[in-house]
Amino acid sequence: MNEKEIFERIQKGDEKALEFLYKKYYRMMTKLVITNSGTEDEARDIYQDALIVFWQKATSGNLVLTSKISTYIYSICQNLWRKELDRKKRLSNEEKDASVVLDTETAEREKIIANCIQQLGETCKKVLMYYYFEEMSMQDIADKLGFANTDTAKTKKYKCKKKLDELVKAQYSEKDFLD
């Protein structure tokens, strides 16, 4: 696969192409973090995050590639790692307990929604993820999930979202989250 093919496949939301890239640049990108006082785990984490940023931008059609893919991902890695180092520095400067005030209610809500998402059928889940995360076009979603046309994809997305909303709201009212 050449650069152009990979990018086109990524734009279409082809996970296999993403895995290919991941493997291809693994050493190069993790090295960046490891040689800048990061651990192996941090390096993998940063690289994965960077790759996913690239993926999201590409699938949503918001990325016009003007450099090599590796150059682009490398620069995201640098930014993410710099941010992480800053965050660590701040954390060690401040009193640790002061900064770790977790919003328990938000966390609780997030957990509920995550649960409800997992209760959806596989297709529903995918439609919503492709629509809200990858921001793929209805055409690409239809192609990928084998829907007849964009209208089917739109209807599917609407119904799945409604179902999820209902699931979450039902859970919320149980926990008195709804006013």
Binding site: E15, L18, E19, E40, L128, M129
Partner: protein, 308 residues
């Protein structure tokens, strides 16, 4: 409860798909409709969670992908060494390195490319605390893995051609001229390591040699490297002595990489040291000052190849 129309509106508002006009109208409506506002916050949470779940899913997918051997071992191995010298020989078959003296097109391209070059260089150096550290570790790690294979391949490498040797007699001035011409040749794109980058795996061999003392001999590459930092007269010079590379100057503390490109029976050698690339002329038998390569096109290619 939100109607389907409201729902679509909310959705589009959240994903920033509304036109400026519609957006303003919607925000006005939000201000006067607390229920709609609550619904918006709810939708925001749900969408955020969908995105987070997708990231988790992608990450666990990536975690299933087998990746190249851990680099942690290489790093700690490195730490134990007092790190002086590393020689990397990149052997690439089938690269056509044409001896072509046309360089008319260079001048015109240079300014803009140099600009690009400068931009690209800025970023990596700002984060890498010590530029020489990274390649050193990378090189070692490759060496550890590929060490067993290298000796066999090295032995079969062609020696410099007769034609090259003949320039020997021409004195230093001529040789220098020849050098500057050679530097420009790759700008013609006849030699393109990046092609190899895109193909699965180029045939290269990485050789790492470690020595404790600067004067000690470094072996097992097709090129033997010695360094000498005692010579007052030559502080950044090189020469080839019976096929061995002699480096004069304070090279001992930093990484030295030798990049060899093979094309047929011709060999072209580059030196990488302290973020600069230098072309080495094998017929240079008197100490000659090392001059960094400045041609941006060639630099880019070398860099790409080296960072592979």
């Amino acid at each position: 409860m939100a109607t389907e129309k409201d729902f679509e509106l909310l959705d589009d508002y959240l994903s920033g798909k509304l036109s400026q006009e519609d957006k303003l109208a919607f925000e006005q409506k939000l201000g006067s409709d607390p229920e709609l506002k609550r619904e918006l916050e709810f939708q925001r949470q749900v969408v955020k969670s969908i995105q987070q779940e997708r990231v988790k899913e992608l990450k666990s997918m990536l975690n299933q992908v087998p990746v190249p051997a851990s680099s942690g071992a290489g790093t700690s191995f490195m730490a134990k060494l007092s790190a002086a010298l590393a020689v990397v020989a990149l052997v690439s078959a089938g690269i056509y390195f044409l001896l072509n003296n046309e360089d008319k097109t260079d001048g015109a391209q240079k300014p803009s490319q140099e600009q690009v070059e400068a931009d690209q260089q800025e970023k990596p150096s700002s984060i890498a605390s010590s530029p020489s550290e990274e390649p050193e570790e990378r090189a070692t790690e490759q060496g550890v893995i590929e060490n067993q294979e290298e000796s066999g391949t090295e032995a079969t490498q062609p020696v410099p051609s007769e034609k090259n040797q003949s320039t020997n007699t021409k004195g230093q001035k001529n040789t220098e001229q020849k050098e500057s011409q050679e530097v420009r040749q790759p700008a013609l794109n006849v030699f393109d390591p990046s092609d190899e980058l895109n193909d699965s795996e180029p045939e290269d061999n990485t050789v790492i040699i470690q020595n404790e003392e600067p004067k000690e001999k470094v072996t097992s590459s097709s090129i033997t490297v010695e360094t000498d930092n005692t010579n007052k007269k030559y502080d950044f010079h090189y020469e080839f002595r019976q096929g061995n590379l002699m480096l004069y100057g304070s090279f001992d503390k930093k990484l030295i990489e030798i990049l060899e490109f093979f094309s047929g029976n011709k060999r072209t050698i580059f030196l990488y040291f302290n973020s600069n690339y230098y072309l080495l002329d094998e017929n240079q038998t008197t100490p000659s000052l090392l001059k960094p390569i400045t041609d941006p096109v060639l630099l880019n290619k070398l860099k790409e190849y080296r960072n592979k």
